[in-house]
């Protein structure tokens, strides 16, 4: 999206190039997602989705361009990136969201604990609050990490393939929750492989080593754009009311 404004609210990138060492892995990224908007970030493995999120969390400084995000966006990583062998409960993990508001030496207090319990209730896991995080199902773990972001109460949420491996109930719950969070005025960015799901979102950012397209789904989820995003591996299916397109389904690690 040429000329995208770098806004004070939400999240925005202008002419961003990201690299590991001197080797650029994602070029020319320009987009803006405002408060209350939901954006899908599409792309193949190695296309740059996780790298972009690392830049948005300030874990990776851009080689060129400008990144504008609030100080501490809420992050919901793939659950495999967290330590499943760590002896912490679901409540302990949700409570970590409170840490972002505290000085480094302070521990969360009673009010934070109540907030964490409320966040777990909101993701439907109040009964699992005292269970060990690593013992929960993949879908439950994803919802616990979402609860952690809720406790953080960040104006921007970054979710890395939150629907990957989720059962239907968890997926529906997470989807409804993301809608609510956007309605509350948060900018929500979701890295995903699910093209059909992305059609329901406000904006779509397509990446494949560089920005391929950014805009509303009706402008970006076209066969030419998806072929440039996913290459020849794209599969076109006949669908009601238009064509459905399926990228190869796999996960970033």
């Amino acid at each position: 999206m040429p000329g995208a404004a770098v806004t004070a609210a939400g999240v925005a990138c202008r002419g961003v190039t990201l690299a590991y060492g001197a080797r650029p892995v994602l070029r020319d990224v320009t987009f803006a997602v405002g408060p209350g908007e939901r954006a899908a970030v599409l792309g193949p493995n190695g296309g740059g989705k996780t790298t972009l999120f690392r830049a948005l969390t300030r874990e990776l400084e851009p080689l060129a361009g400008e990144v504008r995000v609030p100080a501490r966006p809420g992050v919901v990583p793939q659950t495999e990136r967290s330590r499943l062998d760590f002896p912490v409960s679901a409540l302990d993990v949700a409570l970590m969201g409170a840490v972002s508001r505290l000085p480094w030496w302070r521990r969360p207090g009673r009010a934070d604990r109540e907030r964490a319990r409320a966040a777990l209730a909101r993701v439907g896991l109040d009964a699992q609050a005292d269970e060990t995080f690593g013992g929960l199902s993949g879908g439950q773990r994803q919802r616990v990490l979402l609860a952690r972001a809720l406790v953080q109460d960040a104006p921007v949420l970054l979710l890395d393939e939150p629907f990957s491996g989720l059962d239907t109930r968890s997926a529906e719950l997470v989807m409804a929750l993301l809608d609510q969070l956007a309605a509350e005025g948060r900018a929500v960015l979701v890295a995903t492989h699910d093209v059909e799901q992305a059609r329901a979102w406000d904006l779509v950012l397509c990446l494949n080593g560089a920005q391929v397209a950014f805009g509303p789904p009706e402008e970006t989820l076209t066969l030419p754009v998806l072929e440039r995003t996913y290459g020849a591996a794209i599969v076109e299916l006949p669908g009601p009311g238009g064509q459905a397109v399926m990228p190869p389904h796999h996960h970033d690690h």
Partner: protein, 274 residues
């Protein structure tokens, strides 16, 4: 029976050893949990071995052992950093090469005719030989390490659990890694005076490893690790007194037995649950 229990503590040497064991047990047990969580057991063992040349040189020149050990740690850290930059070898290999070289150098220096008879103390420690200064040092270490762990608890938890998201939660993984590394180095530097170069890792790793077998949460694991470290330390002193064995080695053996017992207890608990 009461006499059997109290007899060893009639001797001030054993009382001082008991205080040293209590202080090092509390420090090692609590810190050891984070060493396990951050997968630093190999690094801790390597640091302990790598400071041997510094200790031996200090013994040869009459300098304070603490100073020699600190210098040894710095040399080891620089050596690992330099060797780790060699593209052909990984960081694990770099640590192994540097530590083996330093341990070998330490042994070579120790074979010098000028080496005082204290070498065995450097390797295996002499917990029965601790004096007032050693106890003061161990007390200061316990205060610093336990205080720092209390203050850093949440940061250690956030970074250890989910390193990739820690920055977004306002906690720097680099700062936490450095803080933990400094605490581990400090603990080794001080604990090596009482337990020796080869046994110090036992008190840093075994209690936490045993506690991990029988607990499900971090605070409970830390409390259990401290209790196990102290209990094994006291058991080691009793063994040393009544069996006339080396105190440091007896403590290390008790720590390993505690781990084995915890492992068996966990396996038995699982068998009952299935």
């Amino acid at each position: 029976m009461l006499g059997w229990l109290l007899d060893p503590w009639a001797d001030p040497i054993n009382v001082r050893a008991l205080v040293e064991v209590l202080l090092l047990g509390a420090t090692g047990g609590a810190l050891g949990c984070w060493i396990l969580f951050y997968r630093l057991a190999y690094s801790a063992e390597s640091l302990a071995h790598a400071l041997l040349p510094g200790l031996v040189l200090a013994a040869l020149t009459g300098a304070p052992l603490l100073l020699g050990g600190a210098a040894g740690l710095v040399v080891a850290a620089v050596g690992v950093a330099v060797a780790g930059r060699t593209p052909a070898i990984g960081s694990d290999t770099a640590v192994a090469v540097v530590v083996t070289a330093l341990l070998g150098l330490g042994a070579l220096l120790a074979l010098s005719p000028d080496t005082p008879a204290r070498l065995q103390e450097l390797l295996f420690g002499d917990v029965l030989g601790v004096g007032g200064a050693d106890l003061a040092l161990a007390g200061a270490l316990a205060a610093v390490v336990l205080g720092a762990l209390a203050l850093l608890h949440q940061a250690l938890l956030v970074v250890g659990f989910d390193r990739a998201s820690a920055s977004a939660l306002g906690r720097s993984p680099l700062a936490v890694d450095v803080a933990l590394g400094v605490l581990v180095a400090l603990a080794i530097l001080v604990a090596v005076q009482g337990l020796g170069n080869l046994l110090v890792v036992a008190v840093l790793v075994a209690p936490a490893a045993a506690a991990r077998q029988v607990t499900r949460r971090v605070p409970a694991m830390m409390a259990a690790a401290v209790a196990i470290a102290i209990a094994a330390g006291v058991a080691g002193l009793y063994a040393s007194y009544y069996l006339d064995t080396a105190a440091g080695a007896s403590i290390a053996a008790a720590l390993v037995l505690a781990y084995a017992a915890a492992h068996v207890a966990r396996a038995a608990g699982r068998a009952r649950g299935s």
